[in-house]
């Protein structure tokens, strides 16, 4: 099935010339989903009827000669923490099992306005808390490369759906690495934009100062098109940045001669798998062959970033998740004697273990007597982490390293040890703490599993990230590797 090897640009051309129709694309997606979903389980829900109806409308528009956007007619999927009016949005949790939002997230409004076709909502760790999608209240998702392995998390469903060829692109969210790490584990492209570039209105909040929505795609150019469609100031999100949005796709083909790339020694330390380090070293050679100057630097506070994140994120989460109390929406535990009991029973039965763990950790860190020692302290270290990056990015355009210390691990391997799971995030969380943009791109395979390369840029400099990622991609063949899933794609 060669359709899934076509880029967004190529698909758009074929739709415009009517060589393909959106209805055909939706058919192919649904057929593919039927073939592989039993094994992958990337989705929580599908909207087949809605997708077919929308595809028909798009085909009519094309027939009548109307111009269509780049993403028009293309099947896509949204992580299930982005609200979609009238379409169940669960956040991977029992507490929202039957929740049908009364409004659309801004990103979904943009997807609709672009005439793109959302096929379904994808699986995730509950409330985005996790790095493996094993904490979904419903079921785990399986890595298309090795079904016994995790796809990463928390946007594991979105990444697996793209890697398995079920949709052409997907949206994920990233608070501590939740777009980039699953992209790395499943051999696709995942971009976390600068904090504030993409509206968080309608993204069910996990950690408000860290969350960002971003594209997960099969190649860098596709990511540029998707970013173009979803980026921009939103008056409904008071943390939305009022910046001019450049043309991301026009900038891709500039060469990167003379680009200065910093490689932090802390990103290639002892905790990183030697084979992963090897893949990164090979990637550095490619950048050098393209004329980039790669130099070692130090980000000395890297070793404190995970601890900082695991105070700040749970603290913000404990506040954000207090809205789930059974009063206005979501499941309510019915037989309770008084209001407090109702809250407790609802939340205890509705939330999974990891969510409860983080709520308690956050509540503790913010509680009287401990606030200064934990939350305030973590915010101060956050400043130090941010300053490390600012210092390096004065003299360099980009920072490069592996996205994750290892390749994907087996389902069940880390589930009983939260701390081991958290340490997985060492290379991704610093980026969220600083609010910087970063992309993970495929950098080859190690023992049959994908390795991700991470490029971190200056605030609002997605152009530089996309250009260098694109040049690397076009000068290697990693992005052409596809998982073998019974039926070839």
């Amino acid at each position: 099935m060669s359709l899934f090897n076509l880029s967004i640009k190529d698909l758009h051309k074929k739709l415009v010339t009517k060589e393909l129709s959106s209805s055909e694309l939706v058919d192919e997606s649904l057929k593919r989903i039927q073939q592989v979903e039993g094994d992958i389980q990337a989705f929580i829900s599908l909207d087949e009827e809605g997708a077919r109806a929308r595809a028909k409308l798009v085909d009519e528009r094309i027939s009548s000669g109307q111009a269509i956007s780049m993403l028009a007619g293309l099947p896509t999927a949204l992580k299930d923490n982005m609200v979609t009016k009238g379409i169940t949005t669960t956040c991977g949790s029992r507490i929202l099992e039957n929740y049908q939002p009364i409004y659309n997230s801004t990103v979904y409004e943009k997807i609709l306005a672009a005439d793109s076709i959302m096929i379904g909502k994808t699986n995730m760790d509950e409330f985005a808390m996790g790095s493996s999608t094993e904490h979904s209240a419903f079921h785990p998702t399986h890595n298309p490369w090795e079904l016994a392995y995790v796809p990463g998390g928390s946007s594991g469903g979105s990444a697996a759906a793209v890697a398995a060829g079920e949709v052409y692109y997907a949206l994920g969210s990233d608070t501590g690495g939740s777009i980039r790490q699953p992209a790395a584990f499943t051999g696709v492209v995942g971009l976390k934009p600068t904090y504030g570039l993409v509206s968080r209105y309608g993204l069910v909040a996990f950690a408000s100062s860290l969350d960002q929505i971003g594209p997960i795609t099969r190649n860098v150019e596709d990511a540029a098109y998707v970013l173009q469609a979803i980026a921009g100031h939103d008056h409904l999100d008071s943390t939305s940045a009022n910046v001019k949005i450049p043309n991301y796709t026009e900038a891709l083909t500039g060469d990167i001669r003379g680009m200065r790339i910093a490689i932090p020694r802390e990103y290639l330390g002892d905790g990183i798998d030697p084979k992963v380090k090897d893949s990164i070293a090979k990637a550095v050679k490619v950048f050098e062959s393209l004329g980039a100057i790669c130099e070692e630097v130090s980000l000395p506070h890297t070793e404190y970033a995970v601890a900082t994140y695991y105070v700040i994120a749970p603290s913000e989460a404990s506040s954000n998740l207090s809205r789930f109390d059974g009063v206005r929406y979501g499941t309510r535990y019915d037989s309770a004697e008084n209001l407090i009991e109702m809250y407790k029973k609802t939340r205890s039965s509705g939330f999974g273990a990891e969510v409860k763990r983080r709520i308690m950790l956050g509540t503790f860190a913010l509680s009287s007597g401990y606030y200064d020692a934990y939350y305030l302290k973590a915010q101060q270290v956050r400043t130090l982490v941010k300053q490390d990056f600012e210092r390096v990015l004065v003299d360099y355009d980009l920072i490069l390293g592996p996205t994750v210390p290892t390749t994907a691990f087996k389902i069940g391997e880390h589930i009983d040890n939260p701390l081991t799971m958290y340490l997985n995030d060492v290379l991704t969380v610093p980026v969220n703490l600083a609010g910087l943009p970063a992309i993970s791109i495929p950098a080859g395979l190690v023992d049959g599993l994908p390795v991700g390369l991470q490029l971190i840029g200056k605030h609002f400099d997605e152009l530089t990230i996309l250009r260098s990622a694109y040049q690397f991609e076009q000068n290697t063949e990693h992005h052409q590797l596809k998982p073998q899933l019974g039926v070839k794609i």
Binding site: I102, R332, E337, N338, K344, I359, M360, V381, L384
Partner: protein, 96 residues
Amino acid sequence: MEISRTTIEHIANLSRLNISNEEADSYQAQLNSILHFIDKLNELDTSQIEPTSHPLDLSNVLRADVVQESLAREEALRNAPSAKDDQFRVPAAIEG
């Protein structure tokens, strides 16, 4: 810093969570190991460092104080587990 069993129960109450004895045991162990890891932050002297609560330099993002459309009541109540007289219905907050 070691969290005591009493503190776990206090936190659970603040978080509006019921936890069984087994859960309290396991949360206590897990939270203690996580906190032990977090204590690493004390290696750093941050006495002169300003906290960062937000990555962007934004403050007081407000709109003009002009009345705009708001959510219709039926919409707001649409997902209510229990509603009565155009309000959300909940168990009594106060005893007797």
